[in-house]
């Protein structure tokens, strides 16, 4: 009997390793990313596994009650309802939501099932964190993923952090930034708030919300004016530089847009461009805007102009949110991409999959995303491990509309989404099944089964295979067999196997054949665009006109260190909840005084989308004129914006015009 089994943390996308023992956990000191360390959520990971509220049996809604049913009944019913929806209304009436918390194998088979049923309405929560990254980096660099591994940050001489509070949201990343600082690296943090990440900064750019493009173009302006660009890199590795016109973005003008001093803009530009190796780290402060795709494009432009990409310590690092969000996207659990980043609008690319899957035809054109589902006339919705009601504002506000059709939710807890369903299936949690997770740095790691699932809970893969079998498709229920099929479908995963992904630290894709050691740094010699060059793409600042006389302030949203996304996991962890029990809203002291709000007061925050209650926290670290609310509490989602980035369908969750007053 093995006394400890290696596993990967189920929370964020850093992909930290630790051991599960019979009674608890142990740190894994030889893991390449976390070296034994874990953040508070990682330390509390077992609370979820052992929780009394875990779903144990399949349950069907009959009238207002939940009735325990057998797996056979439940699975037959799913097949029957899906089949009926298809017969009566066609493939447009069915939809699927995959999960950035489920394995690659599960997401791969889930999207395959959706597409074999004739729909591209399959999506996952990546839509709400990095869909702009997917669109922009795929177009510009060819590969929509982090260019360098996390540990590479220790080799950087300048780290530019844009819109990421990584010290709270990816604490282990801070370890590598601190290592770089030990070597004398300069750290620049651009964020309207003074976060613990900003504590680490040598230069903190406290810019106005929504002015990222102006800042970046301003930096490029300085770089070009001072001749700090990399001429040879621009000439040999990129195209489109001639079209890049940033002459309007003088430090003085950018200063008036961003609220930063012109000197700080110049300093940031010089630090970034002059360093031997510079890295850009960004997160949802860049993506969750109606100009999210343009924001990412601007980041890429900056890196390309300076040639700061494709070397150790030098690259673009979008920090992704969930433990397998990179993998779920690689597997094509997206409304606009098939596995291996094949566009739904590219019949040639899809034809390869058609042959692999032995399918007659496969659907073309973008399917529905979660935001669109409440308003689509759906007859059947299958949700695998996502709590869209608590993570998606649009769905949250229109949740009742989801109930028009038959809804299946498979999850580990009775989430608010599951409560809407007609059928709820108990799923095995991460340590109770096998398969691969892909972390934010493209690191594919095999997890082993360390525990038995509670009651009759089953791995998602088994559930999918059983449903498929009833619909007349044969899908593998064994993760290794599924991975073998992924080898065929996703080029970057061609050489990935249980043995190399199961080794300590797994393997970083692209891994084109079984003996390949993996590719930690991308784009070292050529970019993965068809022409092998990166495409510099001009983008411009458009003012964020969100304020109005009724809603003069800007509400910012984000995460806090002790909670995670919709809270379906962390809110069930006693150690985390007791340390951070309720929603709060951060207010600058001068705003607070003007509004008559004191620390600890009950307040109401209103946006044009709704009202939420919270407790005020007065702190000078908040920028004047802005508020901040963590989005782990359902209240915040009820008032978040519904505006979309048209290129990626990312909702503008980061900012909303608002007002605040004291009251219950």
């Amino acid at each position: 009997m093995i006394s400890r089994i290696p596993t990967v943390c189920p929370y964020c996308a850093v992909g930290c390793g630790f051991y599960l023992t019979r009674s608890g956990m142990e740190y894994m000191q030889d893991h390449p990313v976390n070296e034994g360390s874990l953040c508070p959520k990682g330390n509390a990971a077992l609370d979820v596994l052992n929780h009394v509220e875990r779903l144990r049996y399949p349950m069907m809604r009959v009238g207002g009650d939940w009735i325990r049913v057998s797996w056979g009944e439940a699975l037959d019913r799913i097949a029957e309802e899906m089949d009926r929806a298809l017969r009566e209304r066609g493939p447009k009436s069915i939809a699927f939501l995959g999960s950035a918390k489920c394995t690659n194998e599960e997401n791969y088979l889930f999207q395959k099932l959706a597409r074999l049923m004739g729909t591209n309405s399959i999506d996952n929560s990546a839509r709400r964190c990095h869909s702009p990254t997917i669109i922009a980096l795929r177009r510009i660099l060819g590969t929509p993923a982090m260019t360098n591994p996390i540990t590479d940050l220790a080799l950087s001489d300048c780290i530019l952090v844009f819109g990421s509070n990584l010290a709270e949201n990816h604490p282990v990343v801070a370890r590598w930034i601190l290592r770089a600082k030990d070597r004398g690296a300069a750290v620049i943090v651009a964020d309207p708030r003074v976060t613990p990440t900003a504590w680490l900064a040598d230069l903190h750019l406290q810019l106005n919300p929504g002015t990222d493009i102006a800042l970046i173009n301003g930096m490029i302006n300085v770089i070009l004016r001072e001749g700090l660009e990399s001429r040879s890199f621009i000439k040999d590795r990129t195209k489109g530089f001639e079209e890049l016109d940033v002459s309007d973005y003088t430090p003085e003008r950018v200063s008036s847009i961003t609220g930063l001093s012109a000197g700080d803009i110049v300093r940031a530009a010089r630090l970034y461009a002059r360093a031997r190796a510079s890295a850009i780290v960004y997160c949802m402060g860049i993506t969750q805007h109606s100009c999210g795709t343009d924001n990412v494009t601007a980041c890429a432009n900056l890196a390309l102009v300076c040639g700061q990409i494709g070397r150790p310590g030098s690259g673009i690092l979008p920090l992704r949110g969930q433990n397998n969000v990179q993998g779920a996207c690689d597997m094509g659990a997206l409304a606009d991409f098939y596995p291996g980043w094949r566009s739904v609008d590219d019949p040639m690319a899809i034809d390869e999959l058609r042959r692999l899957w032995n399918a007659g035809t496969l659907p073309l054109g973008r399917g529905l995303t979660a935001d669109m589902m409440p308003d689509a006339d759906l007859r059947f919705l299958h949700v695998m491990g996502e709590d869209i009601v608590n993570s998606d504002p649009t769905v949250s506000r229109r949740r009742e509309k989801l109930r028009r059709g038959f809804m299946v939710v498979q999850d580990i807890f009775m989430t608010d989404t599951a409560k809407l369903a007609d059928l709820v299936l108990p799923a095995a949690a991460w340590a109770e099944k096998e398969g691969t997770f892909t972390s934010t740095e493209r690191r594919v790691q095999w997890i082993s089964r360390a525990r038995e699932p509670p009651g009759e809970a089953r791995p998602d893969l088994w559930i999918l295979a059983e449903v498929a079998a009833r619909l007349g498709f044969e899908l593998p229920s064994d993760p290794e067999e599924a991975l073998a099929e992924i080898n065929q479908a996703v080029p970057a995963y061609r050489g990935i196997s249980r043995s190399n992904a199961g080794a300590r630290g797994g393997i970083i894709w692209p891994c084109p054949h079984p003996d390949h050691p993996g590719t930690p740094v991308l784009h070292t010699e050529r970019f993965s665009t068809p022409e092998g060059r990166a495409r510099i793409t001009p983008v411009h600042h458009t003012p964020l006109e969100r304020g109005s006389p009724e809603h003069p302030m800007i509400l910012l949203t984000g995460r806090v260190v002790l909670h995670y996304n919709s809270g379906s996991m962390t809110m069930r962890s006693e150690g985390l909840v007791k340390r951070d029990p309720e929603s709060h809203v951060d207010v600058h002291p001068e705003d607070a005084e003007q509004l008559g709000v004191a620390d600890g007061d009950a307040v109401v925050v209103e946006t044009e989308w709704g009202r939420a209650r919270a407790r005020a926290r007065v702190t000078p670290r908040q920028k004047r004129g802005t508020l901040f609310m963590p989005f782990h509490f359902p209240e915040t989602n009820m008032i978040a914006s519904e505006l979309l980035d048209r290129k990626s369908l990312m909702p503008e969750l980061k900012v909303a015009a608002c007002r605040i007053w004291r009251g219950e």
Binding site: P40, N43, P171, L178
Partner: protein
């Protein structure tokens, strides 16, 4: 000299992983993180003082100086609570027993192991001050060149 836990406040990101780890290990956290003016975070824990006031006040010998560490023997403890009064750090708590850092027995304490930012280290004092001096000298020397 024996290793103790030392803190570099400039590294601490206030994530409270040490608290959670300690609570998991001992049932009650013996290290507590607090933020100051939302600009810094400082974990607070027993310093294993060399001339410890808690040892001076303990009349049962339950707290005693053992080498460079303060050892605690719960069998001798009467739960009088005077060590809580004596400790200048407020690092001792009393629930159903005395809660105080014991460096997790042997090996590396869990708070040190789990700290993502390497703000807590288990070192002996000489190593800590030597590396600080090295850094200070390095910075000065780098500026001269």
């Amino acid at each position: 000299m024996m290793a103790k836990i030392y803190l570099d406040p400039e590294r601490c990101i206030g994530c409270r992983a040490c608290e959670l780890a300690c609570e998991r290990e001992h049932g009650h956290p013996r290290i507590s993180v607090g933020t100051v003016s939302d600009l810094a975070a400082v974990p607070l824990y027993c310093h294993q003082c060399d001339v410890a006031p808690c040892v001076a006040i303990c009349y049962t010998g339950s707290l005693r100086q053992d080498g460079d560490m303060v050892k605690f023997d719960s069998d001798l403890c009467t739960l009088c609570g005077l060590c809580l009064v004596a400790c200048p750090f407020g690092a001792i708590e009393l629930d159903s027993k005395i809660q105080r850092c014991d460096l997790c027995g042997s090996g590396t304490p869990v708070c040190v192991m789990t700290c993502p930012a390497e703000a807590l280290v288990l070192e002996d004092l000489d190593t800590v001050t030597r590396s600080t001096r090295g850094r200070a000298a390095g910075l000065l020397a780098a500026r001269l060149r």
